[in-house]
């Protein structure tokens, strides 16, 4: 009886692996196809019947994508925007989150509600008024416009407050008795305790910023003010069916985040899973 059961378990495990491997192949085909197509010539890429592997790997599409569009600026703008949208929200949100979690002050509940209420609003609702604001400040078509509205993050404030609430008060009380002011307590005692939450926030901000399409598309149109996302849209309109160039561009745009993901797998998965609970 026991042996039959073990044998059944083993064959069940075997079936699971077959199913998961098949599914994994389907999941990564788009990446494989992106790489293979980028090394093909245009003729090979649009050949009938389909040619899976290029006969002579052709690397020229990368250079072409780089030269014929402003790819260098796409990279710089995307990286700089991601940096700004990570550093400032983490700095401001952690301070505010600590104050909301641990200091009792008049208006605390109301002000916290003011901040988190915008989390219920879908992003496109903000875009037209933000555009009008940028236009008033003369920032349409500027790198600054890519990040300035995201200097603060209600979402990060909300998540970090939850973390501060979960920390015991004893350490903090000792610091207060020693004469630390609230900022010193926050900086030296509390902030180090939420390090893992800060890492998660950094990863989410980085990833969202890197991959964002709609706002960069709306706010900037000069070629040197685009990001990778909105730059790819330009690439598509320039090279409609020149698939090798399009795929070279797409690959260059996704590589940095994929490399970071491979290096910090666990942190990425934790960070993104954590962000899903924002509702």
């Amino acid at each position: 009886m026991e042996n039959r059961r073990q044998a059944a378990d083993r064959s069940y495990n075997w079936i699971i692996h077959v199913v998961l491997i098949a599914a994994s192949i389907v999941m990564i085909i788009p990446f494989g196809w992106m790489i293979l197509t980028s090394f093909k010539t245009v003729t090979e890429a649009t050949q009938i019947p389909v040619k899976i592997f290029p006969s002579h790997p052709d690397f020229s599409s990368y250079a072409k994508a780089f030269e014929k569009t402003d790819f260098k600026h796409y990279y710089l703008n995307t990286a700089f925007t991601a940096l700004m949208k990570t550093v400032f929200p983490v700095l401001f949100s952690s301070m505010a989150a600590y104050a909301f979690a641990r200091i009792r002050f008049p208006g605390r509940t109301l002000l916290f509600f003011v901040i988190i209420s915008v989390m219920m609003v879908p992003n496109p609702v903000f875009y037209t008024p933000q555009y009008l604001l940028m236009s008033k400040w003369g920032l349409v078509n500027s790198v600054t416009a890519l990040w300035i509205c995201a200097l603060v993050s209600p979402f990060a404030t909300f998540m970090l407050r939850q973390f501060f609430l979960g920390i015991s008060k004893e350490l903090e009380e000792a610091a207060i008795l020693d004469g630390c002011n609230p900022f010193q307590t926050f900086r030296h005692i509390m902030l180090p305790l939420v390090k893992s939450a800060l890492v998660a926030i950094v990863i989410i901000q980085l990833l969202w910023s890197w991959n964002e399409l709609q706002w960069p598309l709306i706010i900037n149109s000069s070629p040197d003010k685009l990001t990778l996302s909105s730059g790819l849209a330009t690439l598509v309109s320039m090279f409609s069916t020149n698939y090798p160039i399009l795929m070279a561009g797409a690959l260059m745009a996704v590589i940095p985040m994929i490399v970071l993901f491979f290096i910090f797998q666990k942190k990425f998965i934790e960070g993104v899973a954590f962000s899903a609970h924002k509702g």
């Binding site: 505010a96 003011v114 609003v121 992003n123 996704v254």
Partner: protein, 289 residues
């Protein structure tokens, strides 16, 4: 330290976030509603109050109803498919098999991939004459330019991108189910499917409900994949155009910000209803934890 100077510190520490939020997020949200009651001329230099005129136009506009229908249709296809696949793979991964972390990384890869870039490679895969999908399946379908199939292509891309994260959330839910329950069921001689049906599924409902709402909210805002997979010149665009795409087109291609604001405010209403549902049912399930 007296409490007054603690207040001062608190206000200083919340000031950047509070001021930034009000200026860049709260005010725009309110202004977006205000805009929908105006008619602007000369790029917003002159505004007239027109009351509900934009909404009257919206409700009479066949295209709006079509776009709303498209958005809901996308949601009805995308959400259940994502849930079924994510639950299926989560259950498989929960069987204590080897290579869990490798599978997890592979399934998660689309999640870190820029949606614009992903949509571009799907265009190549879905291509009619020389696409890999028609070649492998032996079909002859113009996936993204045939009005009958464009929605399915869009849903496939969406599901592909969403399985990884939702599978992990459901897997976390599965791991929270006490092992003792399964052991008890085994003593009673329950088979695998019955264990899933009578233990796993009921105890997983809070997780599934949560993921459903998050997926629904995400589905109402579909834009990136339409913009790059379907494209603005595609004849199938009217069959997949979402509310957000219509908002973008009206506000920033046709420069009718006020009509665009009316469209996006309908999206706001839909999202508030979904968030409301989430809060209402979350309370109901607190006892389960």
């Amino acid at each position: 330290m007296n409490s007054r100077s603690r207040y001062v510190w608190a206000y200083i520490m919340i000031a950047p976030t509070l001021l930034g939020t009000v200026l860049f997020w709260s005010w725009p949200a309110v202004y977006s509603i205000y805009l929908s009651f105006l008619k602007s001329e000369d790029f917003g230099m002159v505004n007239h109050w027109v009351g509900l005129a934009n909404y009257e136009k919206l409700f009479k506009d066949k295209e709006f109803w079509k776009n709303l229908r498209n958005t809901l249709y996308y949601m009805i296809l995308f959400v259940p498919l994502t849930l079924v696949f994510s639950t299926f793979f989560a259950v498989l991964l929960n069987a204590k098999i080897r290579g869990l972390s490798a599978y997890r990384v592979i399934f998660f890869l689309p999640q870190v991939t820029m949606p614009a870039a992903a949509a571009m490679v799907w265009v190549v895969l879905f291509a009619h004459d020389y696409g890999l999908i028609n070649y492998v399946l032996g079909t002859d379908v113009a996936w993204i330019s045939d009005t009958r199939f464009a929605m399915f292509a869009l849903v496939i891309v969406g599901v592909w991108g969403a399985i990884g994260l939702n599978m992990l959330l459901i897997l976390a839910g599965l791991q929270g189910i006490p092992k003792a329950l399964y052991e008890a069921a085994e003593i009673d001689g329950a088979v695998r499917f019955r264990k899933f049906r009578y233990i796993t599924l009921p105890l997983l409902t809070p997780t599934l409900f949560f993921t459903t709402i998050v997926l629904m909210i995400g589905a109402t805002q579909v834009f990136d994949s339409i913009y790059l997979l379907i494209g603005k010149t595609n004849v199938a665009l009217p069959e997949v155009r979402s509310l957000v795409y219509a908002y973008y087109q009206n506000s920033f291609v046709y420069y009718d910000q006020n009509y665009g604001a009316a469209i996006v405010d309908m999206l706001l209403v839909i999202n508030l209803i979904l968030t409301g549902l989430q809060f209402a049912f979350q309370k109901k399930w607190v006892t389960y934890d």
